[in-house]
């Protein structure tokens, strides 16, 4: 699961992800389910659905061969909010910062008791074990690091807003 960590101005697939292998597929997640897949056609150098992938959003990427996606853009400085709806959603940090779930600000009130996070292990081609938030002890069931450019699925009992602040010094 991949996230666009930078603001490229026009954050569409055609602008963000050129040169990936032919027939690479991208899936966005919305309203608790997968949206229509978009495929990259290397012959015509375009995506079948030119989705916007803004900082804070995630996408599931299926490639037929290993590749590196390089994002180019500006760091979004200041305060940025990501809506976390009740139920399932796919999100990422809107700022390019790696860290544990707590480090990237996923603690109360952004998350509530028993909210769960599921990240993807591309090597094993499976989800990592679900990580559950314990509001009483203000901690996650396991220490999990989210990399820059990594998205994850989150299951929430109630809608909240996840606000991230980023200062450029």
């Amino acid at each position: 699961m991949v996230a666009n960590p930078l603001d490229a101005g026009v954050n569409t697939l055609n602008n963000l992800m050129q040169g990936v292998p032919n027939a690479t597929q991208v899936f966005k997640f919305a309203s608790g389910g997968w949206m229509n897949g978009s495929s990259y056609d290397a012959e015509f150098e375009e995506w079948s659905i030119n989705y916007e992938i803004n900082p804070g959003e995630g996408m599931f990427v299926k490639v037929n061969e290993p590749c590196t996606i390089t994002f180019v853009g500006e760091v979004k400085a200041g305060a940025h909010s990501v809506d976390l709806p009740a139920g399932w959603s796919m999100v990422a940090s809107p700022t390019p910062v790696a860290g544990t779930l707590a480090d990237i600000g996923l603690t109360a009130p952004a998350v509530s008791n028993a909210d769960q996070v599921f990240a993807w292990n591309p090597t094993a081609q499976s989800y990592l074990a679900g990580n559950s938030y314990d509001e009483e002890f203000d901690e996650w069931s396991s220490v999990q690091t989210i990399a820059v450019g990594e998205a994850f699925l989150i299951k929430k009992s109630a809608a909240t807003t996840w606000t991230r602040n980023f200062e450029i010094k």
Binding site: F29, G33, W34, G37, Y40, D41, L153
Partner: protein, 188 residues
Amino acid sequence: MKKLIIVSLALAAATTMYAQGTVNFTSASTGRASFATVADGETAYAVGDYLGSDFIGAVMYEGKEIGRANFGVTSTGKAKGVLAGPTSAVAGLAEGANYTFTLEAFNAAYEAVADKSQLYAGGSDGIYWGVSAPFSYKTGAPSDPLALPPVAMETGAFSVNAYSVPEPTTIALGILGLSSLLLFRRRD
């Protein structure tokens, strides 16, 4: 207790019936559909061209159509030879299960032919049809957010051919010829 079991069973059955596998009605650009032959006098297409949005792709499972979409074009209108439909739930298919499908490609003229057994290869009628090799496909499982999304179909490259329907006069001549043959045979 008995009522509770019946209600539970009914609920389980309803859930199973409701849970339908989803199919992504797009095909991967690793296998495009193109023209192997074109009709006599054809001006719109050439051999080797990819199919565009005037062609229909019907996904077939065990001889029955489970859904269809049109082939796609690029943002500048060029035919791509890949199916370009949405992801839809298909009745009768289970979630997250493997199936073997084929993809039939044809134009509206083919669909309008009532008796397809009459078609013959070539001619100038501009009737096109072709079918992919069988390919395996795993359906999506919308009831499970952690299930992987349904991916594009790996149909492999395949092509359509031009067909025509016999002219009524040709059919009449054929019948006349056959009748004459039978008549002479009897007299001998």
